[in-house]
């Protein structure tokens, strides 16, 4: 059963994106997965569709290290616009960094549901999607 309509995968590592997207598709729980290679592109899409819940993501998997607008910057911008958005969006950080200061920083952001460390296995993803 596809309980997630729309998932944003925001990451600039094309190999990782390919592998993760395939994993997501294999769970069969996501109708559509959209990939953005930096935070700015994801933010633009959200802003564009802010009044159109159909096109807004239900969940975002967000990398931290990206060009143009990195994960942290994306979250800052998102905080400013989230009241304008007609939908509640669940955001997971998905990073290869195991640095404690990154995790600590993520804890203080209310928009973040959880901090996930790469890689994301199929089981872990399923479990995560089930909760939505």
């Amino acid at each position: 059963m596809k309980n997630v309509k729309n998932l944003f995968l925001v990451d600039d590592d094309d190999i990782f994106v390919f592998l993760t997207k395939t994993t997501i598709e294999r769970t069969g729980q996501v109708e559509q997965t959209t990939v953005f290679t930096n935070g700015q592109l994801a933010l633009d899409s959200i802003l564009k569709n802010k009044n159109n819940p159909e096109l807004l993501p239900d969940v975002i998997l967000l990398d931290l290290t990206m060009p143009i607008l990195d994960g942290w910057q994306f979250l800052e911008e998102f905080d400013l616009i989230k009241n304008l958005i007609s939908k509640t969006i669940t955001i997971y950080i998905l990073s290869s960094s195991m640095a404690p200061h990154d995790m600590e920083r993520a804890k203080h952001l209310s928009s973040i549901t959880d901090y996930l460390i790469k890689p994301v296995t199929a089981d872990k993803l399923k479990h995560l999607l089930d909760k939505l």
């Binding site: 990782f16 390919f18 592998l19 930096n38 290290t65 060009p67 990195d70 910057q73 890689p119």
Partner: protein
């Protein structure tokens, strides 16, 4: 005027205007009748038909415009009095206004019409109309009066003439009747009859039938009752008996006996005729009485004529008597006049008077005898004019002066000769008296008025119409013309507002009859703008039939001079009394009935009002709000209970806003109609009071907290009084020793001296002054006191010894301390220098000499700058001086020179010494030689610097370590994650192509991992490259060799490189790093160039202190520093979506810069370009 009677006609060609005016009129005069005409002709028709009170007239109308309508109205006899108000939109059109006024318009209204103005104008117009009417009416009335008077006169004359005519007629009638009588006598025979002694008629002549209508036979057969009226029958019967008896009684018949009597005969036709009967006796032949013989003559007509004459004469007499009109006729020929009784009464004469011309002359008043005789001779006899004269007579009987009006009509004979004058004389004395009295009164009044130089006025109370005389106007500086048209409004306009109100009240009282006359002194505005005083007196002279006052007459007298004198007197009295202005007094007055409020100049001054006349509210507004409740109550009590108030409050003065204290007193007169008040500025007093209170408080504080004990003791040294400080000053509770000797235990060494002084005081009266001595406290300690004492005399008699004692123990201790201190200063291990306020040394302590090598004598009068060296900067001295001159302490260090030339460090504290007034008198410097300490400090500083550097290096290393962890966690772990995921995918894939595709993906991941490793190794190499050697590198050469290797890229980009290194052409550093840095920065500038412009790269050096800053500026894409500032120099961070962006160049550059102790930073504006700065430290140029 009642609204319902008002008729208003509006003429306007615009229907909308008419409707709106009509609406306004209905609003303003709800009960008025309004008419409207849409053109001039129709308007004129309506005006003639309805006779409106006011006409509202539009100017611009087709066919006949407003001016023409107005002209026609004003030219019309009946319509000219209707006031015309022009209604025009041309508000500013003077020409039209002038034109309209010339055409006779009374007023103007401008569109849009305001209701208030409309109302006011119409009311004014109605008043004018009313006044016009009244005037017209008055004229008419006068005319009528004249006519009536003329008529009356004519009537009076006519009556006289009528009477005269009647008299004439009567005379004629008499003449006629006499004639008839004569004819009857002549033509009709008397009735002859004969009767016997029984009364039986024996014979009657045929004329009886003519007389009674009865035939002889009929007459003879009649009884005596049938023949006569009852009275006459009786008379006849009685007379018969009487006569018969009388004749029979006679011895000798009396043949010539006759008796005449009148009897009333009954005629056959019922009429009664009067017969005059002559009776004679009738004798027979024997001379024996046989009957009576009679002759009856008809005298009916004669009697009747006579009776008529009598009646008419009586009537005339009565009439004349009533009119006090005597009548006369004068016979010119015989010089005799006959007169009626009334005339005789008027002249006071009787029938015996000499009724001749001379007689008449004698009646005339001596004063005008001559005039009257002349008049009579010339006018009447000479010119043959009828006599008509009012003249004075001296009544004959009582010699009283009377006025008579004589009229005489002349009669002429056929030869036109004067024969008779017939006329009347009327006594008009009373009338004349009244007239005279009036005229006298008038003359007297006029005289008085002339004399008093008073103006007069007549006021028609009902119409408001007022007439003033020339003098009235003159008093106010006008001519009558100037104040015309006159109305009561003229007066009101010129009157002072308050006086007008008061005056109206008085007039009202007079009208009600409460005052006999109206009298008031009021102020009026003179033409020149000044106020003059006028005494006004008036009285109502006429009332109408409803008992309403109609006319009031009065005088106006200029009493300004008197008033001014009075006012000056009052003023000077007031000034004397209050010294108002000087003492800041002011007064005010409020009339509670009229609410008229008046305040004096003094009050104006206090309130800061200038020349303004304030309203009561305005004055009250100046009061500070916190006093409102108190004042409201005071005013209420004053108004309701006549309770005067005396309050103090504060106001905010109007002119300067200053808050001042006011004392305000007010009281009302008994009637409560006027409130009089005075106000005083008591700010000064308040201030003094406050100061007094303060000084009192201060005094109290001083006394209470005073150090002094005051005691009084009597001649036996018994304590009478001791102030509260007793315990504090001498440690003995005074209350225990009242009436006893104070148990002071004086120090044994001082005892003798005290005893001596005390005795000298008591015996010689010599005061003790500040005698200082010791007493022993309870606990055995010593207390120093200062004691002054003197004798106190009351009524010239010694009463007490008064002591003032002060505890000076502390003072003594201080004294000791000072002594100790000065010793301390002398022996101080620190240098002490005291200068005067100019900085000249006045004192140095021994330590100073020891420390500086200068003796005290050497430096006295010198400036401390003798110690100065060039090593202490100028600014330090400047700062020191400005600090200590402000009275603050200055703490600092000087590097000074001793007398022997040796340098030394001094720690210096400089303070200002001030006197009681806080003025700086001296400076004191306390100095310590800190040369040794300084050396220690320097060592310590060097150690600290070392530590700082080490810390910095450690911090930097720490940061690098963190960065390294980040690199490992992201840059190494990232690819590892990918690899592990790929492996997992491989394991679960069966399809050939899937496996192939996955295998292909391994390569880039592994390449990435390799690159990262190489870079990390490279950077680690840099960090550990301790052996790398620095040398002086010419920048120009370095840039050249670097760009040579990038020729292809530079050419492809079309870039230009500018070099400006004149300020620092050479940098000291490792060639390899510098080359790498320059390469990376130029390479970045090329990589991130803007597509819209050719790349321009500027390389510049700049010297900052001991360092050189190298900058590389481009005009490329720039970096959004607000986003990327923190990640800019981190490894594997890219900020552009550029295919070559790897995120290694800047990381490497930073690593290299920091390896040689330099710093790198960036300034950038997106889309304009970036500048990278690299600071190379310690270039030792």
């Amino acid at each position: 005027m009642e609204n319902r009677k008002i008729k208003i006609l509006s003429i306007d060609d615009n229907l909308d205007n008419l409707i709106s005016i009509n609406a306004l009129l209905k609003e303003a005069f709800p009960e008025a009748m309004t008419f409207a005409a849409t053109n001039g002709l129709r308007g004129l028709e309506l005006a003639a038909k309805e006779d409106p009170h006011v006409i509202l007239l539009d100017i611009i109308m087709p066919e006949m415009d407003g001016f023409e309508v107005c002209r026609r109205l004003k030219a019309h006899d009946n319509l000219c009095n209707i006031p015309v108000i022009f209604v025009t939109a041309l508000k500013e059109d003077k020409l039209n206004r002038v034109k309209a006024l010339e055409y006779g318009a009374e007023a103007f209204l401008s569109k849009p019409i305001e209701e208030i103005e409309l109302k006011a104008q119409i009311k004014a117009m109605i008043k004018i109309r009313q006044a016009n009417f009244e005037k017209l009416n008055r004229e008419l009335r006068l005319q009528t009066l004249v006519e009536e008077k003329t008529k009356e006169l004519r009537a009076a004359n006519e009556v006289t003439w009528e009477l005269l005519e009647k008299l004439k007629k009567e005379n004629e009638a008499r003449k006629k009747s006499e004639e008839r009588y004569r004819i009857i006598n002549e033509k009709i025979s008397d009735v002859v009859w004969l009767m016997d002694l029984t009364g039986k008629s024996l014979f009657v002549s045929p004329s009886i039938e003519n007389f009674t209508g009865y035939t002889i036979e009929e007459y003879l057969s009649q009884t005596i009752q049938e023949r006569f009226t009852p009275a006459s029958a009786k008379l006849a019967a009685d007379s018969l008996k009487q006569e018969v008896n009388y004749q029979l009684s006679l011895k000798t018949p009396q043949k010539d006996y006759r008796k005449i009597m009148e009897l009333e005969y009954r005629c056959k036709d019922g009429a009664i005729k009067i017969g005059e009967i002559l009776i004679t006796p009738f004798f027979d032949e024997q001379n024996k009485l046989s009957g009576l013989h009679g002759v009856t003559r008809d005298i009916t007509e004669r009697i009747k004529s006579f009776q008529d004459l009598q009646r008419s004469e009586a009537f005339l007499a009565e009439t004349q008597r009533i009119a006090n009109l005597g009548s006369y006729s004068f016979d010119f020929i015989k010089n005799i006049w006959t007169s009626s009784e009334i005339m005789d009464a008027i002249f006071g004469i009787d029938t015996t008077f000499d009724k001749t011309l001379e007689g008449w002359t004698s009646i005339l008043h001596p004063d005008l005898q001559k005039t009257m005789i002349e008049y009579f001779a010339q006018e009447v006899i000479g010119k043959k004019n009828d006599f008509d004269k009012v003249y004075k007579i001296m009544r004959i009987n009582d010699r009283e002066e009377r006025w008579v009006h004589g009229i005489g009509k002349l009669r002429f004979d056929l030869n036109n000769q004067l024969i008779e004058m017939v006329g009347t004389v009327q006594d008009i004395t009373e009338l004349k008296h009244v007239e005279l009295k009036l005229s006298n009164e008038r003359q007297r009044l006029e005289g008085i008025l002339e004399g008093t130089h008073a103006g007069t006025w007549e006021w028609n109370i009902q119409t408001g119409e007022t007439v003033f005389n020339e003098r009235w106007a003159e008093i106010l500086g006008y001519t009558l013309e100037e104040i015309s048209p006159m109305s009561v409004a003229t007066w009101e306009k010129l009157s002072q507002a308050e006086d007008l109100i008061a005056s109206n009240i008085l007039i009202e009282k007079h009208i009600k009859g409460e005052l006999d006359y109206y009298e008031f002194e009021s102020r009026m505005k003179h033409k020149d703008g000044s106020w003059i005083w006028v005494l006004d007196r008036g009285k109502i002279m006429q009332w109408n039939e409803h008992g309403e006052p109609l006319l009031m007459l009065g005088t106006h007298q200029d009493i300004t001079e008197r008033k001014n004198t009075e006012a000056a007197l009052i003023k000077s009295e007031e000034n004397l009394k209050h010294g108002e202005l000087i003492s800041k007094f002011g007064n005010w007055k409020l009339n509670t009935e009229t609410n008229y409020f008046e305040i004096s100049d003094g009050a104006r001054n206090i309130f800061g009002l200038g020349n303004n006349t304030p309203s009561l509210a305005e004055i009250q507004h100046m009061r500070l709000p916190e006093y409102d409740a108190m004042m409201d109550e005071a005013i209420r009590a004053l108004k309701m209970e006549r309770k005067p108030y005396d309050v103090e409050y504060k106001i905010k003065r109007q002119n300067d806003g200053e808050i001042i204290d006011i004392q305000s007193k007010a009281e009302a007169n008994i009637e409560g109609t006027n409130i009089f008040g005075i106000v005083q500025d008591i700010s000064k007093y308040k201030k003094v009071e406050a100061e007094l209170r303060k000084s009192e408080a201060l005094f109290k504080t001083v006394v209470q907290s005073s150090m002094n004990l005051t005691t009084l003791s009597d001649k036996d040294d018994l304590l009478v009084f001791a102030s509260a400080q007793c315990q504090a000053v001498i440690g003995i509770p005074a209350e225990k020793y009242l009436g006893k000797v104070l148990p002071l235990i004086v120090h044994p060494e001082d005892k003798e001296m005290i005893r001596e002084k005390w005795e000298t005081l008591k015996e010689m009266g010599e005061d003790i002054l500040h005698l200082e001595y010791r007493i022993i406290n309870e606990d055995g300690t010593i207390r120093w006191i200062s004691h002054s004492a003197k004798q106190v005399f009351l009524d010239g008699k010694l009463q007490y010894n008064q002591s003032t004692i002060r505890n000076i123990t502390d003072h003594k201790i201080s004294e000791n301390k000072i002594r100790q201190l000065s010793q301390a200063v002398e022996q101080s291990p620190t240098s002490i220098v005291i200068t005067d306020k100019l900085g000249n040394i006045v004192y140095t302590n021994p330590m100073f000499s020891k420390s500086s090598g200068y003796s005290a004598e050497e430096v006295l009068g010198q400036n401390p700058r003798i110690l100065k060296t060039e090593y202490t900067p100028k600014e330090t001295y400047q700062e020191m001086w400005s600090t200590i001159r402000e009275g603050k302490n200055w703490l600092g260090e000087f590097y000074n020179k001793k007398k022997n030339g040796e340098y030394f460090w001094e720690d210096v504290l400089i303070s200002a010494i001030t006197n009681d007034k806080g003025e700086i008198t001296n400076f004191i410097a306390i100095k310590t030689d800190i040369t040794d300490r300084k050396l220690e400090e320097k060592k310590k500083d060097l150690a600290e610097l070392d530590l700082l550097l080490k810390t910095k290096t450690l911090t930097s290393a720490n940061q690098q370590l963190t960065d390294f962890i980040n690199v490992i966690s992201h840059n190494i772990r990232g690819p590892l994650v990918n690899l592990s995921m790929l492996v997992e995918f491989l394991e679960t894939s069966q399809k050939e192509e899937d496996i192939k595709m996955l295998l292909e993906k391994f390569k880039p991941v592994i390449n990435n991992l390799n690159e990262t490793f190489d870079e990390l190794l490279e950077s680690l190499q840099v960090r550990n490259d301790k052996e790398i050697t620095s040398e002086y590198i010419p920048i120009k050469d370095l840039v050249k060799t670097t760009t040579d290797g990038m020729e292809v890229e530079i050419k492809r980009a079309g870039a230009r490189i500018e070099i400006d290194i004149e300020e620092a052409p050479v940098i000291y550093g490792p060639t390899l790093y510098l080359k790498s840095i320059i390469y990376n920065l130029i390479s970045n500038s090329l990589k991130y160039r803007s597509i819209s412009r050719k790349p321009l790269i500027k390389i510049k050096t700049k010297v900052v202190n001991n360092n050189i800053v190298l900058s590389v500026t481009d005009n490329g894409l720039g970096i959004d520093l607000s986003k990327h500032k923190h990640n800019l120099f981190k490894i594997r961070r890219v900020f552009h979506e550029h295919p070559d962006a790897k995120g290694f160049g800047l990381y490497m550059t930073k690593t290299q810069v920091e390896a040689i102790g330099g710093e790198i930073w960036v300034e950038s504006i997106p889309n304009e370009g970036s500048t990278f700065f690299i600071e190379f430290k310690n270039q030792s140029l």
